[in-house]
Amino acid sequence: MNFGDCLKDNIGKLLSWLIFSLVMFAYFKAMQVNANVIVITLVVLWAFLGFRFLIFFWEKNRYFANLNQMLEHLPEKYLLSEVMEKPRNAEDLAYYRMLKRINKSMLENVTKARMAQKAYKEYIESWVHEIKIPITTVKLLCQNHPSQTSEKIDEQMEEINHFVEQALFYARLDSVSNDFFIREVNLEEVVREVLARHKKLMIQNHMKVDLKNCDVFIYTDEKWLAFILHQILINSVQYKKEDGAQIQIEVQENKENVKLIIQDNGIGIKISEIGRIFDKGFTGTNGRKTKKSTGIGLYLCKRLCEELAMTLEVQSQENEYTKMSIIIPRDKKEILQNCKV
């Protein structure tokens, strides 16, 4: 609250006091009161009024400053009326009561929306759980009845499974209790399992993978990391060049971090677009060419990395390469803290 504004709000009162002073002055004059007396009376009157106004301003100012500060520290600002003191002033009280009612109705709506969101999330989770059973069955059927067709079906099932997982991870992204399972894992084992699992995708696309120096132990959630790696591999396959496609996977370590680098020799990313590839819904020139991109994959990767206290970085040169680096902190505490476990 600023002094000028406060003065402006009270201009009416001020004017009436001015008129009152003039009337009083005229009346005293008519009664032939001594000029000194008139001056002293008016000075005392105005000094008192000024003083009163200053106190008034100071109190208002303190009141709002308090409220503002409370608001500042409140994580959920809309709860202000729940925590603020009941005001003594009649006008403030009227506003306070209105605020309470508004809040109540808003809280009801927020709760309703939250419940709906939670129910939906739970539905997605149980749906993912259900859909995995027929996927498993089909995969087993493919294995037990091998043919060229079954190979292709199996590959498509893997793709379906990836999209199903995408839905699951997306649904879980914003939930407070992310169910991570952080434990010590061998990075090379995780990478190898992802490669083994998706070998069909890689072999059919004539990809060659060069894996070296990945035998380090890290703390992470294996499943989430596998999902991120798979997504990166999918991108490398999707945006490969026709001939001699190759992916290099290696690890660089220092005291604090382990850096997993996945570099392909594909078509790369335009400089003008590289800053946006992790944005939700961004498909870019490459994505639009293949028409397969949804703009969710890399966004999810970035977010999942953040949740796991890892950093995902990209470097690329158009028509040359794309290099994705996942930086994993060595400190278990740092990861656990970040994961809200």
Binding site: V128, T136, T137, F181, H206
Partner: protein, 222 residues
């Protein structure tokens, strides 16, 4: 022969899994009545249990705990639920491994194999295969003939091993690449050609020619 017990309530998956494991050379039984599961597991006394976590009206963890109280039989949890942290923690106390649905079959088989190898250590594996006077020594990673010995790289060893294992059959190139990927060599078509060329040169140095035949459009044969 190892005996594996399947505890899985989905009939389709149970049957297919049974076929799959039988084809992979295991003796397989499955639980059909989901009352007193723990008791049945103990009575069947298998070498390994594949235990689904979501059973009708039951919880796999509960069963695992009951079994664990009396037996050390290796248990692999099979789950389609993406576990919460505490659940998985509990799991790690009781089970030996876990795998998620939909499992990749080679990975499932590898997990089973690993666990069986760990719990029931086998006698010395077959370490030498011979074909037409050429001996492949797996432990040494070398080929031998008449006291002459030539070393192989890891990749060459794996490729030749697969060919030796499938003697007198035409082995499609894709099958070899598939096998290599399962064994940690991520080769493409071109690299396979390079590997075969190098193997032929090494075999030539041993004095063997035309051991690896090329069947045009079909694959290789020894």
């Amino acid at each position: 022969m190892f005996h594996i017990l399947i505890v899985e309530d989905d009939e389709e998956i149970r049957e297919e899994l049974k076929v799959l494991l039988e084809n992979s050379g295991y003796e397989v039984s499955a639980i059909l009545n989901f009352e007193e599961v723990a008791q049945q597991i103990l009575e069947l006394n298998s070498h390994l249990v594949l235990l689904d976590v979501n059973l009708p009206g039951k919880n796999g963890y509960e069963i695992c705990r009951k079994v664990r109280a009396k037996s050390k039989v290796p248990i692999i949890f099979v789950t389609s639920r993406n576990q919460a942290m505490e659940e998985l923690n509990g799991l790690m106390l009781g089970a030996d491994d876990y795998i998620e649905k939909p499992y990749d079959v080679p990975i499932l088989l590898a997990r089973i194999q690993n666990l069986l190898n760990r719990i029931y250590p086998k006698e010395e594996k077959e370490s030498k295969i011979t074909y037409r006077n050429v001996t492949l020594d797996i432990l040494k990673s070398a080929i031998l003939r008449d006291k002459k010995e030539i070393d192989l790289t890891k990749t060459e060893l794996k490729t030749l091993y697969y060919l030796f294992k499938n003697q007198n059959q035409i082995v499609p190139r894709e099958k070899i690449i598939d096998y290599l990927w399962d064994n940690g060599v991520y080769a493409d078509d071109n690299s396979l050609s390079v590997i075969i060329t190098r193997l032929r040169e090494k075999l030539k140095d041993l004095g063997v020619e035309n051991l690896i035949e090329t069947k045009r459009g079909q694959g290789y044969k020894i």
